[in-house]
Amino acid sequence: MIELLGVTKTFGSNRVLRGVDLTIPKGSSMVIIGGSGTGKSVLLKSILGLVVHDAGLISLDGEDVRKAERDAFLARFGMLFQGGALFDSLRVWENVAFRLMRGPTKRPNAEAREIAIEKLRRVGLGPKVADMFPAELSGGMQKRVGLARAIAAEPEIIFFDEPTTGLDPIMAGVINELIREIVVEMGATAMTITHDMSSVRAIADQVAMLHEGTIKWSGTVAEMDATSDPYVDQFIHGRATGPINPVR
């Protein structure tokens, strides 16, 4: 279980997180929604320690993430980055098998390659792709490779940062379905940040809305559709008028 209590983060004079309280139960799929620039990525990166939060507590299974042994802590996570973040200089299979070829769980190259090809197949990519470089792939294929890399070491927790941004609706649907299937199949805890409502409906068990540095609302997808909360209502229906100022 991931727990955040009063988490704050400020960049210069910009107070991005102003006391975030959130619980993500083990094995559930939490989707964080909110407008651009509301601190969703900062929140996600704070959990991973890529951004150091100023105050508050972030714990994983009751242990403060700042005190956790770094390698063991990160080994429990997989992450799909917004732009894929594939390593340009490595072939696709080397990207997917990156973690498997290094560190305490290092495997022989041939075995790592086999696992990479199997994970690529799982996300709908053929073995031919394995020897290509990321720059030779389309945006949708890069996302799939990023997804394959995120699940390659079969992590307990997977983070998805804007998984459908920049994709056409059909490819976005494919990625959403893949994420849902993989999360269910692996029994992983998932945390997704997005402002794509089709992703929310496809992926989420629980939804939380981040606005002005705090969690404004949280509940299930059905509760989200039925809520009278003006912030959620404006966001999910994409209205220009309401309590959320569209010009930030």
Binding site: K45, L74, F81, G83, A85, R102
Partner: protein, 260 residues
């Protein structure tokens, strides 16, 4: 401008420069701290050795070849004023190995390598590849910075050594084709007047310059700002800072090596 405004205008950039120097020093100390501690990435090290060393050879070779030739012409022309044309081989050799080989080699590597490292790592930063490394339990300092710094520190002295030889050859070519020197005499004068420490000091300078180049490239790349402009600024800063630091370090090392 008021006196306090003028003071602020001078003080702010001075403080920023000092702060940047402090950050670079801490970065360099961190890289040095990681060099001896596992995990090691030999594949990345050898790739960088090839990129920084082997692929810089044509640039350094051509630079020193033409410099050696021009130096021979200049010394011959200047020496003629007091009938000292015969010193051309020895001055070319000493000038190349002590000063021009390391400095010009270092500057050419700074232009080619510091820019390339800063642009590559800067792009990796803005496309979240450095964050991705961290999430894959790989320390970016160990995986990205250490192989580059180690490779540059080892490769640049070799480049300087080869550049020295090519520069001396440039002087010899001009000497025997344009200045009527006898080939054997030119080479004998070169060897007779050259001491081991002349060459050794140049190689030590090369190692220091290689370290500076890689540290500047890695630091500016890994702290690059956002977007194309951020990467462009990081690349420019890496080359400028590396070049200035090479010239400053050259002066300090020359003081240490040759004035005591």
């Amino acid at each position: 401008m008021t006196p306090s405004g003028a003071l602020r205008a001078v003080g702010r950039p001075a403080l920023e420069t000092l702060a940047a120097m402090g950050r670079i020093t801490l970065f360099a100390a961190s890289v040095l701290g990681h060099i001896l501690r596992p995990p090691f990435y030999p594949r990345e090290f050898f790739v960088q050795l090839l990129q920084i060393g082997w692929l810089s050879l044509p640039v350094v070779g051509l630079t020193t070849l033409f410099t050696g030739g021009a130096l021979a012409l200049q010394i011959y022309s200047g020496g003629a004023r007091f009938n000292a044309e015969s010193v051309v081989p020895s001055i070319v050799a000493i000038g190349m190995v002590r000063e021009l080989g390391p400095v010009l080699g270092g500057l050419m590597v700074a232009a080619r390598v510091a820019s390339s490292i800063a642009a590559e790592l800067g792009t990796m930063k803005v496309t979240e590849q450095i964050d991705a490394l961290t999430t894959l339990s790989t320390n970016p300092m160990k995986y990205l910075a250490v192989p580059r710094v180690l490779a540059a520190t080892l490769a640049v002295p070799v480049l300087v050594g080869v550049g020295d030889a090519i520069g001396i050859m440039g002087g010899w070519l001009v000497g025997i084709t344009r200045l009527d020197f006898n080939s054997a005499t030119y080479l004998r004068n070169t060897i007779d007047f050259l001491e081991a420490w002349d060459v050794g000091s140049g190689l030590v300078k090369g190692a220091a310059f290689g370290f500076i180049v890689a540290i500047m490239g890695c630091y500016h790349g890994m702290t690059s700002g956002r977007g194309a402009q951020g990467v462009g600024r990081a690349t420019k800063s890496a080359v400028v800072a590396a070049s200035i630091m090479i010239l400053a370090a050259n002066y300090i090392l020359t003081e240490v090596f040759f004035t005591s």
